[in-house]
């Protein structure tokens, strides 16, 4: 065996020693190339989801029904942009640039969460996204605060804290609706009816059965960048959400939803995974619109970014000249 391979083996052993002892891999540490690539894809997809996710909620900023709600919504969408920033920065520690990642998003080579391919049709959808979508996101992400890659784990700590705040705001916004007029309550129920199954689908395909996906799960768990299976997280979300729906006085659109004493969990109807795969493939109500909006914003801003670059170069040259 050549010395290089020996070194590779040593490095890999060091990596797994850290991961297995629940330590943190830092950017300068050695890591397997597949780990690096998988993390880049995962963090990038998460970052893309934050910035695409600004659109469905941003859709209601101009029309928010009170100034207080307008301020809350603006702050929330601003936080999402901020999350995008942290996450692209975390991905950059793995040796890619934000520009490269944005390019992969814009050319459809990387994905974002399919949930954002559904439209926000009424104001109640803003509350429903906060309650359900952020709720599902937190369920997915809290375990990642303990993931093996340091920069990602630290970004998740901050993000989860803010999302948990957003989730409570979403719940509170819906509560105001369900305690309001009949029209407001109907609006809230309609939002739940439309967002329930897409939210369940956010946890991805089931772990077993014919719809199980490529099976990266095992590898990701070994690497400490996934802690629980899709179905475990989905169950956790349902168990958390059903009692909240009762407080709201809203009916989850699942006639088979009921507490199972034996399992100690709610039984529920799985989302339509065929729909999930269709939407992932690009055939959701808003895939085209979201990506076009994103690409247009990027292209419209190209001259601004170029100007900032040119200005910075000029300033640097001036400073260099002054120093010479």
């Amino acid at each position: 065996m050549a010395p290089t391979d020996q070194r590779t083996d040593d490095r890999e052993a060091a990596f797994y020693a850290i991961v297995d002892s629940d330590g943190r891999i830092e950017p300068r540490d050695d890591m397997p190339e597949a780990y690096r690539r998988t993390l880049i894809r995962q963090i990038a997809q998460h970052a893309h989801s934050e910035i695409i996710g600004m659109q469905p909620e941003g859709n209601w900023i101009s029309r928010a029904p009170s100034l207080r709600r307008k301020a809350i919504l603006l702050a929330k969408v601003q936080d999402e942009a901020g999350h995008g920033l942290y996450l692209y920065a975390a991905a950059e520690t793995l040796g890619v640039s934000r520009d490269q990642l944005l390019d992969l998003l814009h050319t459809r080579k990387q994905k974002y969460s399919s949930i954002f391919n559904y439209p926000t049709l009424t104001w109640a959808d803003v509350g429903a996204i906060g309650w359900l979508v952020d709720g599902a996101a937190i369920t997915n992400q809290v375990p990642l605060t303990r993931c093996s890659y340091g920069p990602y784990a630290r970004a998740m700590v901050r993000i989860c804290k803010e999302e948990s705040f957003h989730q409570r705001q979403g719940f509170e916004s819906l509560l105001t609706l369900t305690r309001g007029s009949a029209a407001q309550k109907a609006m809230a129920q309609d939002a739940l009816d439309r967002w329930w199954y897409p939210s369940l689908a956010m946890f991805g395909p089931p772990d077993t059965g014919e719809q199980v996906s490529g099976g990266h799960t095992e590898q990701s768990m070994r690497w400490g960048i996934k802690r629980f299976s899709n179905d475990e997280l989905r169950q956790r979300f349902v168990d958390m959400t059903v009692p909240q729906s009762e407080v709201l006085g809203l009916t989850i659109p699942d006639p088979d939803l009921r507490w199972n004493d034996e399992r100690g969990h709610y039984d529920f109807t799985a989302p339509d995974y065929d729909e999930l795969f269709r939407v992932i493939k690009g055939d959701g109500p808003c895939n085209e619109q979201r990506l076009r909006h994103r690409v247009e914003a990027h292209e419209d801003g190209a001259w601004v970014r170029e100007a900032a670059g040119a200005y910075a170069a000029k300033q640097q040259a001036k400073r260099a000249e002054a120093a010479a």
Partner: protein, 240 residues
Amino acid sequence: MTTQRYALALGDDALILAQRLGEWVARAPELEEDVALANIALDLLGQARTLLTYAGELEGAGRDEDALAYWRDDRDFRNVLLVELPNGDFAVTMARQLVFAAYQYELYDRLRGSADETVAAVAGKAVKEVHYHRDHATQWVLRLGDGTDESRRRMVAGLETVWPYVDELFEPFDGADVDPTALREPWTAYVHGVLAEAGLSVPEPTASRRGGRDGLHTEHLGYLLAELQHLHRSHPGATW
């Protein structure tokens, strides 16, 4: 004591500009600007809420911030025309930001000394926010003015677009806590300084548009208000 008309004018300025800046969110040239513009919009919205609430109290007819924001028609809005102009490209928006933040900075700096405690308190908080807004716009005017040929061309056009709306900021206002005419000189010193540093000329004075303080707006405001108010007006009396 601050007049209701004055509180309304200042509140409307902040509200309408917040609405315009909110339109940039998820459309900005880079993510940092999505954050920055949302942040500025939030600051302005906060100022608007306090000032409109106070205007409602001064009026004493039981109107709160939402009653004033959502139930007045465009003839009753008192904002300057500058803030209701469509965003245009990023250069137009930054030209407007420079003009307006530099004005608000001088205004709030002086309003801290208002005999009206509420207004003085608003100003004390707002002056710090607006200092950042002014700095943000300044940095961009420098970058765009001294960036590429295209950015320079756009920055010149942006300044020309907003310039006819500058005079209105400094028109006399009966019963103002701070005389707007007194703000022009320090404003000029600051803004002309930025333009000089960016290598940009001060636009030639052409037209001078006014009327906002009397409710004589541009045709743009009606569309802005239709969007702003439609949902709220569709559910009279509802709580959100």
